[in-house]
Symmetry: C2
Subunit: 235 residues, 2 copies
């Protein structure tokens, strides 16, 4: 049906316009400065039209968070795709996430905002489900890497339940590193820090702490994996 699909395309094009305006406004003026009326003016449509796309302001930010998560999934999958041992691929994830977050403060901002419960509550159910599914998917990528490492003996656990703890700890580490980076005060408290390397380095320490062999003292993971990523055009 040509008619329907043209309408559909126009609708989606406009949604992209709204998202872009929202993204920029959020980045520039923060949550309190994000203004539905102003978005409408900017894209030269009316407020009512925006509410055909998003049920409320938070729903719009929810959609931006979904984009963030999809982007993260994309780059993590790319990183995992470079091959090598499980630990090397885990290293790759750290190495691509570092620059990504630093170079995309907008994504960071969106994500950080949507962690606030009272804001996320207002996001539409379908979007909430998508967010949930994406979270699950990201976690399962990491889980697969761990399973591989366990299978071929790179990593040995004291008990099987430890696996979930490790994933949660790594996830926390990633969240925390970028929360700290995004905080004015924290950046000031750690003046000499290279935030791009904060998570990748901490990840190495964590893997060493788990006795995930070979240790980083025995193998220059960051060098090797960094080189491979550059070769293949990521980073």
């Amino acid at each position: 049906m040509g008619t329907y699909s043209r309408k559909q395309r126009e609708f989606e094009k406009r949604e992209e316009l709204i998202l872009e305006a929202g993204r920029n406004m959020l980045l520039e003026k923060g949550y309190l400065g994000l203004n539905m009326e102003r978005i409408a003016e900017e894209i030269e449509y009316s407020k009512g039209t925006i509410y055909k796309h998003f049920c409320c302001k938070e729903d719009l930010v929810g959609r931006l968070m979904i984009e963030t998560l999809m982007k993260i999934r994309e780059i993590i999958l790319k990183a995992v795709g470079i091959g090598g041992t499980a630990r090397e691929r885990m290293t790759a994830i750290g190495l691509v996430l570092g620059p990504f977050m630093i170079l995309n403060p907008g994504h960071l901002r969106t994500y950080e905002l949507m962690r606030i419960g009272s804001l996320r509550e207002k996001v539409s159910p379908e979007k909430l489900e998508t967010i949930h599914d994406l979270h699950h998917e990201l976690i399962s990528i990491i889980e697969k890497l761990l399973d591989e490492a366990l299978e071929n003996g790179e990593l040995v656990l004291s008990c099987p339940e430890q696996k979930e703890n490790i994933i949660a700890a790594g996830w926390s580490m990633a969240i925390g590193a970028y929360m700290v980076f995004s905080d004015v005060d924290d950046r000031h408290v750690f003046p000499g820090i290279d935030f791009k390397n904060l998570f990748p380095d901490a990840l190495q320490v964590m893997m060493d702490g788990l006795a995930w062999v070979p240790l980083s003292s025995e193998r220059d993971y960051k060098g090797i994996v960094g080189a491979r990523l550059r070769e293949q055009g990521f980073l």
Copy 2:
């Protein structure tokens, strides 16, 4: 000056009332449900009176964040005070922070909120400075522990700059662990996790990864330090 000081006392008493009402409201209804008018009703004063204490809604939350940071400082200082090796005292910090965050969701909520830049921007300059100073103080407690470990050789670094990275990584870990705990979705993605132990355990892994001796495989830090904390009435 009796007169002045009675007035002063009344003022402070009322400020405590406002804070308590605000704390509860924030915990129950989240940021969007925190309502200045309703706080006024609750404490049976008028809106105008509240604005004698706080320049805006965010300023109130800023004050709550200061309380959170002071509480954290208090329990961290207690933990550090139990004595033992630097690593044992670092362990103690993890062990007291775990339950604290879990048992005080209100504190967590406040802290999480105030990390949002556009909200923190509205907090009054004096409070911002206090927040900043408290952050610095917390970091310097950790730094002192590290210095001790370095001095007596428990911990050896490849370069002196690594110290700041370690502190930042630990800080990120703590922030991240409690952000993840506070997130509905994350709690759902990690159904089997005991969040109380997430940070303490990850901290051990991290210290092991730094080859901070004796390793946790050689010494049951959580058991030893946990017992000591219980003996001394913390935990």
